[in-house]
Symmetry: C2
Subunit: 339 residues, 2 copies
């Protein structure tokens, strides 16, 4: 994607360094982080300098390559990187591919580049398949950020939007702000601005309202892990969004590459759900009106516990279809496509 | 309710002034606003210095009394105060009661005091009826703030919790933070801390997750307007909460006095929904970590539109019961109770 005239991926490798767009600073500042140590890369995943399942997958693969380039123990790197976050299947996919490559005597960095390229190709295919669902004038609701910042390029849920817009269809996006970390108001809004896609940011609470008023034609979200039965884990709030879509007869699509499918996970109930710090709920990060600097404000009172599950599970029966690089499948078909 | 050892109502009249707890400053600072002019009172309602349907109703009644005390035209005051906010039925109830009193030759301030006292009595009755639903150990989810800060005293949705706790039942409250203005993390958490009720603040997105995990036994919310058919308007996000409760077989109760019922409003579709400034979504108010002062941080990028409907409608068929000062009714019975 193009940022201020220059073409970027979200994750890439350059001068023996893993390079990442520093996402917590967006939309207020565009900065690149350069990482030479796999432990730092694992920390960048944990602290969400990079996030989004496919972007995590590519980052994890490059982090493994960093360990190999530095002559460090790949099994130790596998353990450390694999412990960075529990829910996104792509993390395990990325490090698993590098471990297999090493076992097969192949080059780790070449394999990581291949994985990144495959993610780009998958995302573009997801965009093409998904855009076939988008008619001119459609109003699309999305949750969290599943655009190019969540992948290596293009995106998952947003790739169909970008493809449709390039095919000159009018699209309007309702972007859920996606509390607590506001990937919607920070990242999705930033992406849509860069691509000149008409949009509005709404509180997550407002999505059901717009659905009930007939103002949303389709919901597309990404996924962090897809179970073999077609249940999906995605950012907290996806489940209620799917319930509201069902109640209002609105198609609810999930967009993800096959790297997100976990064949060893029979159902959504088997997906581990990350609990993050309550400070993400009690505090909000942004640009201070008084100082113009990055700052956090405390909203909740001291003394109140804040709980922060980062993902929820949307059962297969609420999902209209899963948009993949191989086509659009019903959730029930996903497991059969793995063989 | 007691704040740091002193007993308060949310709204009262003293020394020819309307007194309000300044709610936007909570939980960080406790301050009383004293108002001598009805126009200022209308502005305090519009700017949500006071909010919550019953608290608005009492404030509006006192604002009318202020106009009369100052020898100003009550019809002009009726128009100005009535234009402060569109959704809460209690606003129109409060000013309507004063207009009727004036027409009957009764004293406006005495009538306003009577209205405030009636709200307190209603809230306490709601607490008693509602607490009969709460068994020891229950985990209750609530949205927005419908505690004593939203009423004159006791609350609506939280009154049953306070009553149950005083009857020595253990209760745990999951308080939705309630974006965009965070009345849950600011006000409900503050109230529950003051009353020593065990609780956790969660992102609105997480309520469905906890419901799906069997960790919520009951939902109780307030209401800003109840239509004659039992549909209710309440803070944005209530509708999706009700959908999630239904999907998980969890009872969903609405607590409100009869002053909130609008006999002239046949269905929820007839309730006007306030659109508030998008800045409530793009920015967050709190206490700066860097300066320790009240501040706002911008979260969304400049250039992105933010939309901010303040209420939504929950249809009667998603509501288990409406807890009122006269008992607990099915939504369908509410209309019949009006005659």
């Amino acid at each position: 994607m193009t940022i201020e005239g220059k073409s970027y991926r979200t994750v890439w490798f350059e001068d023996n360094r893993l390079c990442l767009i520093n996402q917590p600073l967006l939309p207020h500042r565009f900065e690149i982080v350069r990482i030479g140590d796999y432990r730092e890369a694992a920390l960048a995943i944990r602290n969400m300098v990079v996030r989004g399942a496919p972007a995590i997958g590519a980052t994890a693969a490059y982090a493994m390559a960093l360990a190999v380039l530095r002559g460090e123990d790949p099994e130790e790197a596998y353990r450390v990187i694999g412990g960075a976050r529990p829910t996104a299947q792509d993390l395990f996919y990325g490090i698993g591919r590098i471990r297999e490559a090493l076992a097969g005597g192949r080059d780790a960095l070449e394999e990581a580049d291949r994985i990144a390229d495959e993610y780009v190709a998958s995302s573009e295919r997801i965009g093409e398949y998904g855009s076939s669902l988008i008619r001119d004038g459609m109003r699309i609701n999305t949750h969290c950020n599943a655009g190019w910042l969540a992948t290596v390029d293009w995106g998952t849920a947003l790739a169909p939007v970008y493809k449709a817009v390039r095919q000159n269809r009018k699209v309007f996006v309702y972007a859920d702000e996606t509390r607590p970390r506001c990937q919607g108001s920070r990242l999705t809004a930033y992406e849509l601005l860069q691509e000149n896609v008409p949009h509005a940011v709404i509180a997550d609470n407002a999505a059901g309202f717009y659905m009930s008023r007939g103002m949303i034609d389709m919901v597309i979200v990404g996924s962090d892990r897809i179970a073999a039965n077609g249940d999906i884990a995605n950012k907290i709030g996806t489940y209620t969004s799917a319930l509201a879509a069902r109640a209002n007869g609105i198609p609810f699509y999930v967009a993800a590459p096959f790297a997100t499918v976990d064949r060893d996970c029979p159902t959504g109930g088997d997906i581990p759900i990350e609990e993050r710090s309550g400070e993400e709920v009690s505090h909000m990060f942004g640009i201070s009106e008084k100082t113009g600097e990055a700052d956090r404000v405390r909203v909740a009172p001291e003394g109140s516990e804040c709980l922060n599950p980062a993902f929820d599970v949307t059962p297969a029966d609420l999902i209209t279809g899963i948009i993949t690089e191989r086509g659009i499948f019903s959730p029930g078909e996903i497991g059969r496509q793995l063989t």
